[in-house]
């Protein structure tokens, strides 16, 4: 398979007045052409920061402290501002969480679509309109000609997310980063949008990084999963391996916390405690304070290792006592 994206030991720091917080800690990930990867984890795990750091769009005190991002064979993390701008929204598109907030309220849909094209290529307004209509049809927006003249407030949340997806498709990107694209929508519409996204990724051969809380969605859409905890990847592997045989105690807890799986064990298997703030992550294994298997060895930092299920897990216990506990 052809490599689309490789993230190597990427760290993101937020430099605050007294301290420096590491929101993403030496994360390595890769994505093949047309592959779909899910990033799951609790709120504050660093999923969004990781997603934005790929196109170097981290909000203010944040910056990439170390590591590199290679995209289509080029080290885009070393790009100049202008070079990076040409990547954003062209070869890599983003879809945001809340479609009600993502579109500019004072610009028409047409303006917001055409400007995306004009930022990356020489097109006339008429040509741009043609491309916009084509993409709006792709996301099943009825009577798209009329839509171009309308403003965002004239659309429902589901329709807006379709339009945002159409915007992300305009330049035929090689990869889409979708940061919780359905969290803000009604349950019925969530499924529609996910289906649409999946269909488009398959037909257009686009890579997808899907950031979400929702393990059910991830298991339907993605081929691989990265589980994040406190800025690090604690488990990484094929979706079915991780869903059926989770290895890391955190992943097990996360899956156990899913209501659908509660039936088998008879009770909801909640992870005790909450994820510590970034300033209070323990040394060694970041999860050890909440882990039922924690032992002395957990004072040293575990690295991702191949486990018996096929996935990689960053846990000293995996492959030893883990096999009986799971």
């Amino acid at each position: 398979m052809e490599k689309l994206l490789a993230i190597n030991k990427l760290s993101v720091d937020f430099t605050l007045r007294e301290s420096t917080l590491r929101a993403v800690n030496k994360v390595s990930l890769s994505l093949d052409r047309g592959e779909r990867l899910g990033i799951v984890g609790e709120s504050g795990a660093g999923k969004s920061v990781l997603g934005f750091s790929i196109i170097n769009l981290i909000s203010k005190p944040g910056r990439i402290a170390e590591g590199s991002v290679i995209f289509q064979g080029e080290e885009i993390s070393a790009y100049s501002y202008e070079q990076m701008r040409r990547v954003r929204g062209d070869r890599i598109s983003m879809i945001f969480q809340d479609p009600m907030m993502t579109l500019n309220p004072v610009l028409t849909i047409g303006e917001q679509m055409r400007e995306s094209l004009k930022a990356h290529m020489e097109v006339s307004t008429a040509q741009a309109n043609e491309i916009c209509l084509e993409k709006l049809r792709k996301v099943y927006i009825p009577s798209p000609e009329k839509r171009l003249e309308q403003y965002p407030h004239e659309f429902s949340g589901g329709m807006r997310q379709r339009i945002i997806i159409a915007i992300s498709l305009l330049t035929n990107p090689a990869m889409i980063i979708a940061d919780e694209p359905t969290t803000a929508l009604d349950v019925t519409i969530q499924a529609e949008i996910m289906e649409l996204l999946l269909e488009l990724c398959e037909t257009e051969q686009m890579g997808l990084i899907l950031i979400t809380h929702d393990l059910a969605v991830v298991s339907q859409v993605t081929q691989r999963i990265a589980v994040m905890y406190a800025g690090t990847i604690v488990e990484l592997g094929r979706t079915e391996d991780i869903i059926t045989h989770p290895q890391h105690p955190y992943t097990i807890g996360l899956l156990g916390a899913l209501p659908q799986r509660a039936g088998s064990s008879g009770r909801l298997n909640q992870i005790p405690g909450v994820m510590p703030g970034l300033a209070r992550i323990p040394r060694g294994c970041p999860f050890k304070n909440r882990c039922s298997l924690a032992a002395e060895i957990c004072a040293t930092k575990p690295h991702l290792r191949k486990s018996s299920s096929g996935s990689e897990a960053a846990c000293h216990m995996v492959g030893t006592e883990q096999s009986t506990a799971a």
Binding site: R85, R88, T102, N104, P105, V106, S116, A119, Y151
Partner: protein, 325 residues
Amino acid sequence: MFAFTVRRVAQAVLVMLIISLIGFSIKHNFGDPVRELVGERVTPQERQQIRDQLGLNDPFMVQYGRFLKSAVHGDLGRSFFFKKPVTEVILAKAPATLELVFCASLIVILLSVPLGIYSAIHPRRLLSRLIMGVSIVGVSMPVFLTAILLIYIFSVELGWLPSFGRGETVQLFGFWDSGLLTRDGLRHLLMPSVALSSIMLPLFIRLIRSEMMEVLETEYVKFAWAKGLRPRRVWYVHAFKNTLLPVITVGGVQLGIMVAFTILTETVFQWQGMGSMFIESVERADTALMVSYIVVVGFIFVVVNTLVDLIYGLVNPTVRIAGRK
């Protein structure tokens, strides 16, 4: 948009009615139209007779109705001091004040927009900190002090600019004495306009800056960056267009308030406008002139506000659509 306009104009008329009622109450309680007509030297009997003839013993609302009727026809009474209809007096003084406010507004708008945008985009740069620092001084310095400082520096010490009066004016349309068309007139206009704008300019810079900084943090601006738009497009189209909405509402009101601030500026620069006329009319107890100043300034204020709201409606698609349906 049409329904919106109608609604907005109706509101404006209502506000004008209230202002005129207040104005009339002042006149009714403090004014003495008999004195305005015949002076002080009449006997009490004669005075009573004249009052009856003039309808001054009629019920309040009847008199107010009469006042309103003549006001609509442009008759606001006679000035006791000038021995002329007040509308004539005000019309002669209005151009001086309006040109002053116009130039001050121009200064405010032309400077606050670029300075506000710059300090919002680059909040940490030295120039932004300088702008913010100077604007704090500007806000806290009273207008008359600014004016006196300006006169001291540019008229007394450097001798570059005249310190009082309007200079050479040109009459337009037969009634409008304009200082905008001669070099001398513009030289006279410069310092008063700067003094008048000195309060509003820092307020506007801060308003634009804080609104724009808020907008720059929104999701749609973040999305605009993620689309790979050029910075200029993100700042001036995505962010500034949304900054404009709150700035227009607050800013329009502030520009209207500037008409009232002219009283101070005009007094310091001996500017022969409505502001200094108002001060004189208070000193001379020229009630009719005083009240009509209030009504006229109120009128200007209401017109400005209505225009501001209509412009807001043009910029904001939500209002436009609501009006269209």
